[in-house]
Symmetry: C2
Subunit: 263 residues, 2 copies
């Protein structure tokens, strides 16, 4: 059975990319809820409803493991999804938080993400539940996602935007910065040049945990033949294919447009 | 009966602002479909469905006139809405196009807007149906809306972004530029400084036509008492109130959160 991954758009493909690198033999189903993008500006109740519909769809297709490859959705809906479904469910917040706790020496961690993710305080809660002596600072960076989706990954505009958002982190003397949005690995180089503190990439950490859990549970795929990838979107498959290729660093085929709720 | 206005978010409030200035005695109902913002990245079919639900809601509240204060929605759904409902319906594309035809002397008009609006070619069709000797150039500016919603209305980042999007217009020698998105009046000063050609503000032109049609049809409000304004949103009323105030240039009260489709 495949691993199921959902996000509201192309961002979760950075997580899928890392899973493909660490687990090249696994089948994967990816759902991008592109009709309702972006979750980062929606209220928690709305995000919860959408996440449940996404998870139901993937579970109905027969998956062995669910990855919520979206920080906003992980922040808001992971507990509920774990309760509702009897399969392993992992989000991107937990792995990012665990890696941050291991990395920080000064016990000062900064987190950047969408408004909803930062306002939810989910990274702060996750980090402080592991070590409550750690001080966590969150900074919302709403323009990063549209800039990245526009493909402006280098140059003055993205650098100035990073400088504007991240100036408090530079002065704040945090020694660890969590990329709390699956889009942000695409501008890792710009962020690293601006803040000059070590970065945690939740996509990498999540893939690592997926691999560990599958190994420990004896759930790795043992079948022969090449690993299949299938993609489902709720709107605009052509745009998903074109923009998504950059996120996945791989061509995207087998895209099916589906309906969820009233999309 | 009130005038009904809808948009996917706060952008249409620039149209409402102009209507309030030109028709201060009219009651107005405003619907912001904030749960499904932004329409500019969605496929035409999805925009059509959402527009129909928005219009149905306002018509069910009893309105005398429907204003589609969203370029994306006007571009895609105006014809269908005019067919479905037996009340006057106006979009923002027609008034903007008519003003552009009157203004251009060189017969070269540039239009800026979201990807969906520009790809729909709606301004080009509307302008060329009035005068097919006019050459129309469309430029999509996807980052303007998130920049404006972030409140970055001045400074280097918005200027550089405008320069990047509008460089072709500067060299193209158009003598008229249509702001084909209701958000854009918020950065009119930046756009004007970048392109140095006269701008058409669709919000102003639309308000002018609403007034003319109500006058000609004897439909102006004659009742006494102050004009009532009511607002409906499908998500996040607090954010609508805070961000919307800048667009309307007026405080926003009487906001009700409603559900449409599965929002």
């Amino acid at each position: 059975m495949p691993i199921g991954i959902f996000d509201y758009g192309v961002g979760g493909l950075t997580v899928m990319k890392e899973i493909m690198e660490q687990l090249p033999d696994e089948h994967i189903l990816y759902l991008g809820d592109t009709a309702r993008v972006p979750y980062g500006v929606r209220s928690p109740g709305t995000v919860l409803n959408y996440s449940l519909e996404n998870a139901r769809f993937l579970v109905s297709k027969g998956i062995k493991f669910l990855v919520v490859a979206c920080n906003t959705s992980s922040a808001v809906s992971l507990g509920m999804l774990k309760e509702k479904f009897s399969l392993p469910v992992i989000g991107v917040v937990g792995p990012g938080a665990r890696a941050a706790v291991q990395m920080t020496k000064m016990k000062r961690v900064a987190v950047i993400g969408t408004e909803t993710t930062i306002n939810s305080g989910s990274y702060e809660k996750a980090i402080r539940s592991l070590d409550d002596s750690i001080q966590v600072t969150g900074v919302a960076c709403p323009l990063f996602v549209p800039l990245i989706e526009e493909g402006w990954l280098d140059g003055e505009i993205v650098s100035l935007t990073a400088a504007k958002y991240l100036s408090s982190i530079r002065n704040d003397s945090a020694d660890t910065l969590v990329l709390g949005c699956t889009h942000y690995p695409m501008i890792k180089h710009v962020i690293a040049a601006t803040v000059r503190v070590p970065l945690i990439d939740s996509a990498v950490e999540t893939a690592r945990e997926v691999k560990a859990i599958l190994e420990q549970g004896g759930m790795l795929r043992t079948g022969k033949g090449s690993a299949l990838k299938k993609y489902f979107v709720t709107d605009a498959p052509g745009k998903f294919r074109d923009v998504g290729r950059k996120f996945l660093d791989h061509t995207i085929e087998n895209i099916t447009k589906i309906s969820l709720g009233n999309t």
